[in-house]
Subunit: 322 residues, 2 copies
């Protein structure tokens, strides 16, 4: 949760002057999104989210992110849609930072997803992969496998501080992943941050996805691996295989996986756990004291890594076909 | 702005089970209120604010605060109204903390109020004083004049750290205020925290007041003094006498001030500046690093104190009658 940027009523008025949305009725900073500042805006014509893009989002990537959201909404995927101003622009700026107004998406995220939520989330992810098919832009995954070793080279000291001996263990992860990383899996647009905070429900029914600011071009199965890590571990660090199977079943009801994709999921999940461990390790130290953001514990992902290290035999997810 | 407490979807469901508001549709932590955690909740039957009371609000004071809000709303004052559950309860609890659901109040707060806003804010404050007339409960101002000397006794070291020599200057303020503090002014329910963040507008028209969690029984003119400090200083520390006169004119259009009240405003404003200086000085050091809250700068109020020290002759506010 984060509200880094403060928007005054005057700045809001200046921004809204470019749109045909009527006068503002209410405007509140909301604790949603880790990377950006988000505001819930109500105007005479409806409700919107104003997202102000901070540090990690590069303005040159915005046409991809916003174009994707618009494409998905036009292809009946439940997600927020960017709103164009009178000149047709969706990429705007406020207080010298890039920003965009998107439609308000109702729904609640769940803190501790149950098996039914995991099934629905799997279905929602497959629908995203399907709806994005044909989207004409692409974007490399700059937090993909090739990025991890150079990232970790700068974080070794912090890893040792976190847990003595950890640097060698992570080096072994990197070597294992480099040797075993699958290539040639079916690829396309992936969300790459499909965590419970970013998925909305009505009751137990999937209601939509938010926060496409890590979306990129990568293997679909990598997106599933990120989601399995995020949704199917219990608070005590154990992996809930029933939830994982439900998520895969929900996914496959829309887009069946190939044998190669199924077989790759354990190593992809090992890599995906490393990716989130590394960025959390970085943020853990980089977050200034007093910032309006609570850095996420990197150790949560080190515990998930340990589970993956212990189960390289593909049994873990029940994903190996007989 | 603060979101201290995290509410899970399950905790929300448990809370809502006591109410007849239908299923939740959306739920977001909002950056509003310094002392409490606030969430914007939409259910099938409308929009509400869930306030979870943290540290400074004592649960034994809640019947006063919530009762006052209900009284004011019933007397046509524009403010959020507490919502009773099926058993008629408005004081609830979540995650072991007291909480309440109140109706959503639309409107925008202004960052840099203009003269027109000050006039309207004055009118809104007088309407509050009038609407509260007859409210059967009372509550001592535990941050009133009698509290300042004991508070400062514990903060002297911090004042010196902030600005060497400041402790003696504040001691002189305390002596001056003790000798000159008015008694027998017309009293009743005051808001006691009537800052621009707590007042909503539609355009330049007053739209309502929020955050009654410092409300207490005190001189009406003290409430005006708090508001003059909060609304009528420019960012450069200068006092905008045009804005102050507009605020008083707006107030008097609803509730004319007596000569004694007018004459007392400068010393009340001096004291009100000290009250906010002291609590900010306390919070400045007490806020843990990494908390989801940005402590307010005590020096802003020390600069206001300096203005009051220099203008004890009643000329400052143009409030002395010829």
């Amino acid at each position: 949760m984060a509200v880094y940027t403060d928007i005054t009523d005057e700045e809001l008025e200046t921004l809204l002057a470019d749109f045909d949305l009527g006068a503002p009725v209410s405007f509140k900073g909301i604790a949603e999104g880790v990377e950006n500042s988000n505001f819930l805006l109500e105007t005479e014509s409806g409700r919107f989210i104003l997202t102000v893009y901070e540090k990690r989002v590069r303005s040159e990537d915005l046409p991809f992110f916003l174009g994707l959201m618009r494409w998905l909404a036009e292809h009946d995927y439940a997600c927020a849609t960017p709103v164009a101003d009178r000149a047709g622009e969706i990429s705007k700026s406020v207080r010298g930072k890039p920003c965009a107004l998107v439609s308000f998406l109702p729904g609640l995220s769940v803190r501790r997803p149950g098996v039914a939520h995991c099934r629905e989330a799997g279905r929602g992810l497959a629908e995203l992969h399907r709806a994005a098919d044909g989207f004409p832009m692409s974007r490399d995954n700059d937090l993909g496998r090739a990025a991890w070793a150079p990232m970790f080279a700068r974080l070794k000291g912090q890893a040792e501080e976190l847990k003595p001996g950890l640097a060698d263990v992570i080096d072994a992860d990197l070597a294992y992943l480099a040797a075993n990383w699958p290539t040639d899996l079916p690829s396309g647009i992936v969300h790459a941050d499909y965590f419970p905070d970013n998925v909305f429900f009505h009751g137990e029914a999937f209601a939509g996805t938010i926060d496409f600011y890590f979306a990129c071009t990568d293997a679909f199965a990598y997106d599933i691996a990120v989601a399995l890590n995020a949704w199917c571990f219990e608070a005590d660090g154990s992996f809930n295989i029933t939830a994982a199977r439900a998520m895969l079943a929900g996914y496959e009801a829309v887009r069946p996986l190939s044998d190669a994709e199924r077989a790759a999921i354990p190593v992809l999940a090992h890599g995906a756990a490393l990716r989130f461990f590394l960025t959390r390790l970085h943020d853990w130290r980089a977050t200034p004291a007093g910032a309006l953001v609570k850095p996420k514990d990197p150790l949560e992902y080190e515990r998930k890594l340990a589970v993956h290290r212990a189960s390289k035999d593909l049994v873990l997810f029940g994903t190996a076909r007989a």
